[in-house]
């Protein structure tokens, strides 16, 4: 049962040390419903944070709640309601996909028959229906990724934690995996935390992004913010002679970006729709028109840069 009012994860001033090295520094956050991205350089503490949330590591200081359970009560039972998709290659030898998936379901508390039925269902869902009776160790790396997703789904958790979900997959597989993730999270059905090195993946799937660096959360972003724009700068793609076009525009700053699009800085007294009029008069077609957006990449680089300066 997904409760919409309680927050999913609450952390207050969590600190953790590895052999005297401070891996997590006073992290406080509140993760609510929806899909969160977790980004950061290597060694930022993302994996450590996930291990703390899963109850494998106890924080040296601070506390919090995961799915309503206080951390000091022990988080082992909470794993029943969490689906974890690890980054590394992991499977159990000698088992075919159905048996393995059902087995994992049983370990999470599903009755055996239910687990088997549900195993078939999730294997169909992730696209492994034709190979589900094959031994899992014969799978290609793309198939293994899907299998890991199935293992995280079989017990229908309330929260999923995915670590590099598209790792090792080819372009077709990546697209399908991202589609699956979006489908699972659609209509608010599932809460997720996705850790990835690939900004494009995070942009496609997450509503909020947490950026970590050196053991702290340095920035929280809404991906929606990337659409709310600086409405005076527009990307314009045209077919035709740009010089004619630019001549008709008032004195404005114009650059061409790597993709051949014009970035036009429009003054306050020039309504953007006038661009179409000027284009028509210049005999030029506008084929691409968009207010300039901040990308996740920009936000990330800024956040890390600022945290280094601090």
């Amino acid at each position: 049962m997904i409760s919409m009012t309680d927050s999913i994860i609450q952390l207050k001033e969590i600190s953790f040390f590895y052999n005297g090295f401070q891996a997590i520094r006073g992290v406080s956050l509140e993760i609510g419903a929806g899909v969160y991205g977790l980004l950061g350089p290597n060694g930022a503490g993302k994996t450590t944070l996930m291990k703390i949330i899963l109850g494998h590591l106890a924080p040296a200081a601070g506390g919090g709640r995961v799915l309503g359970t206080p951390m000091d009560a022990g988080l082992i039972e909470v794993r029943r309601r969490i689906g974890y998709m690890p980054e590394s290659h992991c499977l159990i030898p000698g088992m075919d996909a159905v048996t393995l998936t059902a087995y994992m379901g049983e370990l999470s508390g599903m009755p055996r028959q239910e687990a088997i039925k549900r195993a078939h269902e999730v294997l169909y869902y992730v696209g492994l229906e034709e190979s589900r009776y094959r031994k899992a160790d014969t799978y290609s790396s793309g198939m293994k990724q899907r299998l890991k997703l199935a293992l995280a789904l079989v017990h229908d958790p309330e929260l999923m934690i995915l670590d590099e979900p598209t790792s090792g997959m080819d372009p077709g597989g990546r697209e399908e995996m991202l589609e699956l993730i979006r489908d699972i999270a659609a209509k608010g059905r599932m809460n997720m935390i996705i850790s990835s090195h690939i900004l494009a993946d995070i942009e496609k799937t997450c509503q909020q992004v947490l950026i970590m660096n050196s053991g702290s959360i340095v920035s929280e972003q809404h991906t929606r913010d990337f659409n709310s724009q600086d409405t005076s700068i527009f990307e314009v793609g045209i077919k035709g002679d740009p010089r004619e076009f630019l001549r008709r525009l008032p004195k404005i700053q114009a650059e061409t970006d790597r993709r051949g699009l014009l970035r036009l800085h429009l003054p306050a007294d020039y309504p953007p729709m006038n661009l179409f009029r000027d284009a028509l008069e210049a005999g030029v077609q506008i084929r691409h028109f968009r207010p300039s957006r901040l990308t996740l990449e920009d936000a990330f680089v800024t956040a890390i840069g600022e945290s280094h300066a601090r």
Binding site: L39, G40, P41, N42, G43, A44, S140, S141, G142, M169, D170, P171, G172, G173, R174, E175, E176, H197, I198, L199, A200, K239, R258, R259, M273, F276, R277, A279, L280, Q285, I286, R287, H288, F289, R290, P291, E297, F300, V301, I304
Partner: protein
């Protein structure tokens, strides 16, 4: 202009298993993205290009010279393989110095090159640490900079960003573009299409051992006749705009997304479509928030040509 890499009817098979079949290719200086599904022949092609395999048929030449059994060629070619293999017990700095010496540098020059190479990828602080202690991302950065160490004219990179964190992904892409801007050639193979797009517009798509497409992404898209172009318009007047196009024979489908305030058209004649669109917008003073072409990107080209499900 003489192509940097030239393949003619290049074929390689392993018994029954087909690696690549009759590949012909001419690559000029610049950055070329190499992509394809797993098992498509990309790895075989890269191995042929880096001299690890001998063609069964046809030929492959770099700078006009045959690749196989031509070690001298590799003074001008740098290769960064995908696999994670490294010498145990060696530290980063020594490894790079060693590589530089293999390319003929003197001991002092080698040290200097190694130092600069480490700086380029932010590994100067860990130069004295054993490579086995590096994280995956750090080892990857080491491999990339090792491939560039001897200033090659052609750089071949196989999944150079695997395991690299977001910050360094951006920086390495910049590094590659900077490298190319000095007049050199780079072939980058990757599964992550948005990253290829941020590096270059030129791609080579391999599937089932053959080249399906080669060249500029937009040009390739333009050649896909069986896939009419999508144009997405975000506007408060989605249905009004749609009504202006419904009777146009060049408009094949119209899709509405009320929640997103978007109308998406498919047209087989973009010139005609945009002509009309620009006219209508001005004549009727319509407000437009956004015009984009959602399938004018590499992922769409890949999907159309390689065909999922």
């Amino acid at each position: 202009m003489e192509p940097v890499l030239e393949a003619q009817d290049l074929s390689k098979w392993y018994g029954n298993i087909l690696g690549v079949s009759d590949i012909s290719l001419n690559l000029t200086p610049g950055i070329h993205g190499l992509l394809g599904p797993n098992g498509a022949g990309k790895t075989t092609f890269l191995r042929l290009a880096s001299g690890q395999l001998k063609p069964n048929r046809g030929r492959i030449r770099i700078f006009g010279e045959a690749v196989f059994s031509n070690p001298g060629l590799f003074n001008r070619v740098g290769f960064c393989p995908e696999n994670d293999a490294y010498y145990r017990g060696v530290n980063g700095g020594d490894y790079l110095s060693f590589m530089a010496r293999l390319h003929g540098a003197s001991p002092t020059e080698a040290r200097e090159r190694a130092r600069k190479a480490l700086q380029r990828v932010g590994l100067e602080d860990v130069a004295a640490k054993a490579i086995s202690a590096y994280s995956l991302g750090m080892r990857q950065r080491l491999k990339v900079t090792a491939a560039m160490l001897h200033d090659p004219q052609l750089l071949i990179l196989d999944e150079p960003l695997k395991g690299v964190d977001p910050l360094w992904r951006v920086r390495i892409i910049e590094l590659i573009r900077e490298f190319e801007s000095q007049g050199r050639t780079v072939i980058v193979s990757s599964h992550i299409l948005p990253e290829i797009e941020s590096m270059t517009n030129n791609i080579v798509l391999i599937h089932q051992g053959e080249i399906l497409a080669e060249g500029d992404i937009q040009e390739i898209r333009g050649l896909l006749d069986s896939h009419p172009h999508m144009v997405s318009i975000r506007t408060p007047h989605i249905r009004r705009i749609a009504s202006r196009f419904v009777q146009d024979n060049h408009v094949l489908t119209v899709n509405f997304s009320d929640s997103a305030r978007k109308v998406v058209f498919k047209t087989d004649n973009r010139d005609h479509f945009f002509d009309r669109l620009n006219r209508i917008v001005v004549e009727e003073a319509l407000e437009i928030e956004e015009i984009t072409s959602p399938d004018d990107n590499l992922q769409a080209v890949f999907n159309y040509l390689v065909g999922r499900k």
